[in-house]
Symmetry: C2
Subunit: 346 residues, 2 copies
């Protein structure tokens, strides 16, 4: 049966997610999880939903309650929200909705590696445009005729944002939709929800980072009700389970808790950004819950390995002409240990 | 942005899942849920996994613990198991792995309507071969050059099984893989796991029916380790959440509980099958947790509507040249109420 696989599938190497060690002694600063637990109201909501009756029955395929809560909290039309099994599910749905086999997907570079994987899976061409040196849009775009443009904003690995008016201009000139992947937007100063409301871009969100819910897999798209109706045809009918739906609604509903976690993470991020230069790192000012750090005169790999030997896991990322360490903003205690280890290493 | 959708997406009407009323007074016999709650050990496993630490971290992308349990219980290689967010997710993964745009998907007819939706989403042709009058394979097949063949076994809406040696023969002669969709296999007398172990077919399983876990979305594929490795590239990295993984492993691990539910459902199925003919229905002997009932001289729609007016929901299914009611085997009490209502209606 291996011979019957689509050649694109055989050829691809597959997306490699960050390491997920089951050893709880590891200080895990490699996949941008939130270092704090989710709101107690989330655990309460799951406990409340956790009955034999809820488990044995299919969940609400459209996540009506979640969409109502999210619509109210974010000030968007609930009918313009599409629920996903993580925002990766939403990115898959969007790719399948807009990109034909042989089509093209555009992304800036370096950015989230999954966009390339999505193109490979769809049998589409993947084109990239390099960011400017300060992680902004280039002045000239080679191709505006692509089927979808993915824009991680804040971007990974840089943690930087491009300007909203640049996004709006790109969306106007581009043939296919511009998808603003806002997995990290709750840590940033602004977001593109206003553009999504007006149907100028599609915004995707994740509950894995700012809401500390990577374990339940929940994300969503914000677009127009008309487009949402079409995207629902592409998703699995029951793509979100009953417990995740309950958790997600409770998480969105507890904004004070999320904002308190956010404030702590932003304060720790500032400490980390201020400490790394004295250890020889160049740090890009971040609007996300991670920091992109490049050592001035030492390669990243040995630093990564020495940290790992001390049970501290960060992400070593290599792009054409550019490598560095992407360090998740952990708790103050975790960042203290990281900095202490780096002092010994570099 | 609507103009930018792939024409296949705009053209399709989308899969319509069975109605999911939130009104708990409805006797819900329309989507083949298990009428009994899942094993208490499943609820215990979820409660045990339900910590802030589990929720904030990404789950194991490969579901290693679940695969070990399932491998042991089913007597298959854990490395040949691929986890899915419901078996619909697995069917999507298989379609994307094997079927190019413009390819062909074959299914018997009438069968699970999702196979056609999967073909539409992939931009593939959907071909069907009619079952024989007694729901077996036809002697002549028009096309064995398709990219994938989906075979629901037991089939929906009929509840019937085709013979294993017929499946083996089809798999030998077919170019693309034969996927035996065994969502209902735990209610049947035999299954195709032995063929999957040998790499002759791919088997898909769901925890929604026999394990009473439709609410958590969990399914899996059984194939060879070599093919499983390829399919993992097609799935979302974290397609199964931490609580579902814990629930699924506990469910598989409690075979005595599943077998006890199965025994009750089979006994009730027999009662239902024996009672319906006296009410004028022709009943197909079922190997699933539902019964396909066609009234001898009355159309199905008014019966469906009259039941619905009495808060009893069954599934009215219409296929070319064939319609009927697909009735989920509920508890004895629910089936008593159904039969009482039918006595008043027909």
């Amino acid at each position: 049966m291996l011979d019957c696989l689509r050649p694109e599938i055989r050829a691809m190497s597959g997306y490699t997610p960050g390491e997920q060690p089951r050893n709880s002694e590891v200080i895990k600063l490699n996949t941008n999880e939130n270092p704090y637990p989710p709101s107690p109201k989330v655990l309460e909501a799951i406990r409340h939903a956790l009955t034999g009756e809820t488990l044995r029955k299919y969940p609400d395929p459209l996540g009506t309650h979640f969409r109502q809560v999210a619509g109210r909290v974010l000030g968007v039309d609930p009918d313009g929200i599409v629920i996903g099994n993580g925002s990766d599910d939403i990115l898959t749905i969007l790719t399948r909705a807009f990109v034909p086999q042989g089509g093209t997907i555009l992304s800036l570079s370096p950015s989230y590696l999954l966009y390339c994987t999505l193109a490979e899976l769809q049998g589409a061409r993947f084109l990239t445009v390099p960011f400017t040196a300060d992680w902004q849009f280039p002045s000239a775009w080679p191709d505006l005729d692509n089927h979808i443009t993915y824009l991680a904003n804040p971007n990974s690995p840089s943690g930087t944002c491009v300007r909203l008016d640049d996004i709006a201009r790109l969306a106007e000139r581009n043939r296919g939709p511009v998808v603003v992947d806002e997995a990290y937007a709750d840590f940033a100063q602004e977001n593109a929800l206003s553009l999504a409301r007006e149907g100028r871009v599609i915004v995707t969100r994740s509950l894995s980072k700012s809401y500390a819910l990577a374990g339940i897999r929940f994300g969503f798209a914000v677009t127009t009700p008309q487009l949402a109706q079409q995207l629902v045809k592409v998703k699995d009918s029951y793509n979100c389970d009953a417990l995740s739906l309950a958790a997600a609604a409770a998480a969105l509903d507890d904004q004070p808790y999320m904002l308190a976690m956010r404030a702590k993470i932003l304060a720790t991020r500032q400490r980390l950004e201020q400490a790394l230069p004295s250890l020889g790192f160049r740090v890009t000012p971040s609007q996300a819950n991670f920091v992109w750090a490049q050592h001035m005169d030492r390669p990243a790999q040995p630093i990564f390995a020495a940290l790992k030997a001390r049970n501290i896991l960060v992400r070593h990322m290599i792009y054409p002409g550019c490598e560095g360490l992407r360090i998740t903003v952990g708790t103050d205690g975790q960042i203290d240990q990281l900095l202490q280890a780096l002092r010994e290493i570099v």
